[in-house]
């Protein structure tokens, strides 16, 4: 009760204060004051869940400055819940958080968010005349000009604020939540309906939109088509434009041309006009000239008539003129011709005279030349005239030489007559000298005596020229010179008469060939003599030749004998060579067969030796396959698998050992001496011979422990041990023992190989190193194995010795030099 009174008192006090303070604006201020008191009352009657600070802060989120002022006027004077309060203006929603109470009246901002903020932060929200019923806490309303308020209790409790029951005494009422929520639901329903309607509208609109979109698409397509058409048209337009431009250019060009042509035309027209003027001028001239010409024409006519008359007169005159002219011309010509003839004749005569002179001079020269030639010629020449003789002969009707000859024999006077009729024309100096006469005159007298009176034929041949048809004759004649010396003459008779068949001028050249003939005779004699000599000599040579031939035949026969012997020797030589080659071949074959025999042993052994390891691997694979078949038991089988693989490995190692021993057996450096490990060589040889050894005998090895080295040919040393050990194995039939021991003795290595085989007899011991000595059956070894071993040991500067006892065994002792450091 005390509190109630206290509160009421405060209310009245506040009212009075407000009245006294703010009087100017009564109407307004009264409502504002009431609002302010209401607000203060609200603050008084609300309890916050959180404890308040010292001061209660009230936020004023409104434009109502009068209310703010009225509130501010009591700030500091009154207390709310025994605490001071502050009022501040709020401009933004975010400032709300600083206050405990917020008075809100705004038209623009969102009430919902403000309410939310207030609710979340436990701020008392006082709204003024809000239509909203749900999102309010305390809402001041006007009921019939009276200020009242509605309190939304649930919201306040939700906001963490409690309402004191005195609050409602101030004239408010509780918000009817049910109705409010009903209203709110109806609102929501309406809104939902509205939303549905609007959705339907939206759908319709969407369908419309879709339709419109389709239409738009279509329109767009059409637009694109149009665009493309437009482009095409544009292009066409451009083309046309360019065409137009071209045409324009062309037109301009043509215009220019036209202009030019116009100019030309103008020029031409000007010219034409000029010409026209000229023409007119000329026309006038012509007219004048025409009149003149007419006058002249008449004159001409007259003169023409006159001319015709004159013409006829002239013509008559012409004829007489022509005749006279012709006469004169002929006369002149004749005169000229005569004169010319005269002159030419004179000239000709002169020329002829000159020519004649020249010719006579020439003739003179020629005759002189001829005479000099004739006289100086080295050959005797004479010229004779036989014309009279010819006439005489013809008178006598002698037609050939035979008849002449007969007649000459029958009538000796005939010849004398002929001689007398002969005329000598000339003779040259040589002729005179030939016949040893003094002058040409003498010949005439003497010539006839120059014949051998006995030889009628000789005489006749002087005249046989007359019976020949030819103009020349060569013959040999015999004459005598003045000293009665016989001359043999080679004569040449030439007819040089001016007229044919007159024989008026015969040229006879004579060459003295008596000496030549004599020399000929002598030569012939000499020749004959020489021939005789030659014959004698040839007969002598023939005899000698026969002797030589016989000797030659003897030599040939001996030569043949020698050749025979030679060929026989050759045959024997080739035979020897062949036999030598055969021996060599046989030797090679034997070595080869020995090698083959040992190789046969080797290869059989090697094949078997490698087969076993292969078997290990193959059966190992089968065993592994069996293990892997059962997958469940794989782990249990693991141990087995490991043992299987180990055994397979054994196979691999054995095979590799064989191959290695083979490789060392056939080393590449066969030509060089290398450092050899004798123990390894022995082991290799044992491996190679393993298959032979294993079922027959035991091997015991006792090797020198100190280190040493031997220099030698590896392959050959292998061959040594293989041969020796093989022999030992072959001497054993069963349960044998071979002991191999090495020991150093001073600077030599002693190797002993001892077996307990069948042994070697004393006689054979001497022969074992002989080539081709063997106790085996033919085909099982040639017997050169130990001879080769002996050679190899020699090569290595070593020694080999065999000792044996039949049925007990054989021991081989090898010594080889050790390399000294």
């Amino acid at each position: 009760m005390n509190k109630k009174c206290f509160h009421i008192s405060i209310l009245f006090l506040s009212l009075i204060l407000l009245f006294t303070c703010g009087r100017t604006t009564q109407a307004q201020t009264s409502s504002e004051n009431i609002k302010a008191t209401l607000i203060l009352q609200f603050c008084e009657n609300i309890t916050w869940s959180k404890p308040l600070k010292d001061k209660i802060s009230i936020g004023f989120y409104s434009e109502n400055t009068a209310l703010l002022n009225s509130l501010k006027s009591v700030e500091g004077k009154l207390k709310i819940q025994d605490k001071d309060f502050t009022i501040k203006q709020i401009s933004k929603q975010s400032e709300m958080l600083d206050f405990n109470v917020v008075y809100y009246k705004k038209t623009e901002t969102d009430l919902n968010s403000i309410f939310k903020t207030a609710q979340e932060n436990s701020i008392l929200l006082i709204t003024d005349n809000s239509e909203e019923q749900i999102f309010v806490m305390i809402n001041i309303i006007k009921v019939k000009d009276k200020l009242s308020f509605k309190v939304n209790m649930p919201n306040l409790t939700l906001s963490g604020m409690n309402v004191k029951p005195n609050l409602l005494l101030n004239g408010g009422s509780l918000v009817d939540i049910k109705e409010a929520y009903k209203k709110f639901e109806n609102q929501i329903e309406d809104n939902r309906l509205k939303i549905e309607q609007s959705n339907e509208n939206l759908n319709q609109k969407e369908t419309l939109l879709a339709q419109k979109d389709e239409i738009i698409q279509q329109k767009e397509n059409s637009i694109e088509q149009f665009k493309s058409e437009i482009d095409l048209n544009q292009k066409v337009y451009q083309k046309l434009q360019s065409d137009v431009l071209n045409k324009k250019n062309q037109i301009s060009i043509k215009n220019k041309e036209l202009n030019d042509k116009d100019n030309q035309l103008q020029n031409i027209s000007q010219n034409i006009s000029q010409n026209l003027l000229k023409l007119s001028e000329l026309q006038t001239n012509i007219k004048s000239l025409k009149t003149e010409s007419d006058t002249l024409k008449s004159v001409v006519k007259k003169s023409k008539i006159v001319l015709i008359e004159k013409d006829t007169y002239i013509e008559s005159q012409k004829k007489s003129l022509y005749i006279t002219l012709a006469l004169i011309a002929t006369l002149l010509l004749a005169g000229f011709a005569l004169i010319r003839l005269f002159i030419t004749k004179k000239n000709h005569a002169k020329e002829l005279e000159d020519k004649v002179q020249i010719r006579t001079q020439e003739l003179q020269l020629k005759t002189e030349q001829f005479l000099t030639l004739f006289n100086m010629a080295p050959v005797a020449i004479c010229e004779m005239n036989f014309s009279r003789i010819n006439e005489f002969i013809q008178e006598k009707q002698i037609q050939n030489a035979k008849a002449f000859y007969q007649l000459a024999i029958e009538e000796p006077d005939f010849l004398i007559e002929c001689f007398n009729l002969r005329i000598f024309l000339s003779v040259n100096n040589a002729f005179i000298d030939l016949f040893k006469i003094s002058s040409a005159d003498e010949i005439r007298d003497l010539y006839n005596s120059l014949f051998d009176e006995e030889a009628v034929s000789d005489i006749i041949n002087e005249f046989d020229f007359l019976f020949l048809k030819t103009k020349t004759q060569k013959k040999e004649i015999i004459r005598f010179d003045k000293n009665k010396q016989r001359l043999i003459l080679q004569t040449n008779w030439i007819d040089i008469s001016e007229l044919p068949n007159t024989y008026s001028r015969i040229l006879v050249t004579m060459v003295d060939i008596t000496q030549i003939r004599a020399i000929e005779q002598e030569l012939i004699k000499h020749q004959n003599y020489l021939e005789l000599l030659v014959k004698e000599r040839t007969s002598e040579i023939g005899a000698l030749n026969e002797e030589l031939n016989s000797q030659n035949e003897e030599l040939y026969s001996t030569n043949e004998l020698l050749e025979k012997i030679n060929s026989e020797h050759k045959i024997t030589n080739t035979k020897l060579n062949e036999t030598l080659q055969e021996l060599k071949n046989a030797q090679m074959n034997m070595i080869q067969s020995e090698k083959m025999a040992s190789l046969g042993i080797l290869t059989a052994g090697i094949a078997h030796e490698i087969n076993n390891p292969l078997n290990f691997i193959q059966t190992g694979i089968y065993a592994l396959e069996e293990c892997f078949k059962d997958k469940d038991q794989l782990l249990e089988n693991l141990e087995e698998i490991i043992t299987i693989t180990q055994h397979m490995n054994i196979g691999v190692t054995r095979a590799t050992a064989i191959v290695k021993s083979l490789n060392s057996f056939s080393r590449r450096n066969k030509d060089k001496k290398v450092v050899c490990d004798i123990h390894q060589i022995i082991r290799n040889s044992l491996i190679i011979l393993n298959h032979e050894i294993k079922d027959k005998c035991k091997i015991i090895e006792k090797y020198e422990q100190k280190p040493f080295a031997i220099e030698g040919f590896e392959e050959n040393l292998h061959q040594v041990f293989i041969n020796i050990i093989n022999n030992s194995v072959q001497s054993i039939s069963k349960n044998g023992k071979i002991t191999i021991a090495t020991a150093i003795n001073e600077s030599m290595l002693e190797i002993s190989i001892a077996d307990n085989g069948e042994g070697i007899s004393e006689e054979n011991l001497k022969k074992i190193f002989d080539p081709f000595f063997t106790t085996k059956d033919p085909g099982r070894g040639v017997g050169i194995g130990l001879s080769i071993v002996f050679k190899i040991i020699e090569e290595h500067n070593g020694k080999i010795k065999y000792s044996s006892e039949l049925q007990k065994g054989t021991t081989v002792l090898l010594t080889l030099p050790i390399i000294q450091d």
Binding site: N611, L614, T619
Partner: protein
């Protein structure tokens, strides 16, 4: 697979590796007995009468394959014997196969199929 009446094979070879791997390979198919020498093999044959087939190597110390089979024929002339060897077949052995002294001569390395065929042939007889 081993049925109620399993086939018993005696394999004789001086290499123990061969014996082991052979038995591992065929143990699921046949019952395998092994021996390292002819003498041991003969004692097994005397003690176990139900051996169906004897396979032996050729080259063994003391007694080779042929001698071993001769001795077997003295004891049981109907027991089939075969030789499994690394050596090539000779005329002598070919003759022995023809006469029936040997059922077969198989060359090493072993072929599983050959062994199986051999067994089939001997059992059918």
């Amino acid at each position: 697979m081993i049925e109620n009446n399993p086939i018993k094979i005696l394999y004789v070879d001086d290499e123990e590796t061969n014996l082991l791997l052979f038995s591992l390979t065929f143990r699921k198919y046949y019952k395998i007995k092994t021996a390292t020498s002819g003498i041991e093999g003969l004692s097994i044959i005397e003690s176990e009468p139900d051996i169906n087939l004897v396979i032996t190597d050729m080259k063994m110390p003391q007694m080779n394959g042929i001698e071993f089979i001769e001795k077997i024929k003295e004891l049981k002339k109907d027991l089939p014997c075969a030789i499994l060897s690394g050596y090539d077949i000779t005329e002598d052995i070919e003759g022995k196969v023809k006469t029936g002294f040997l059922v077969d001569y198989i060359m090493k390395p072993l072929s599983k199929v050959q062994i199986q065929l051999l067994v089939e042939r001997t059992i059918k007889r």
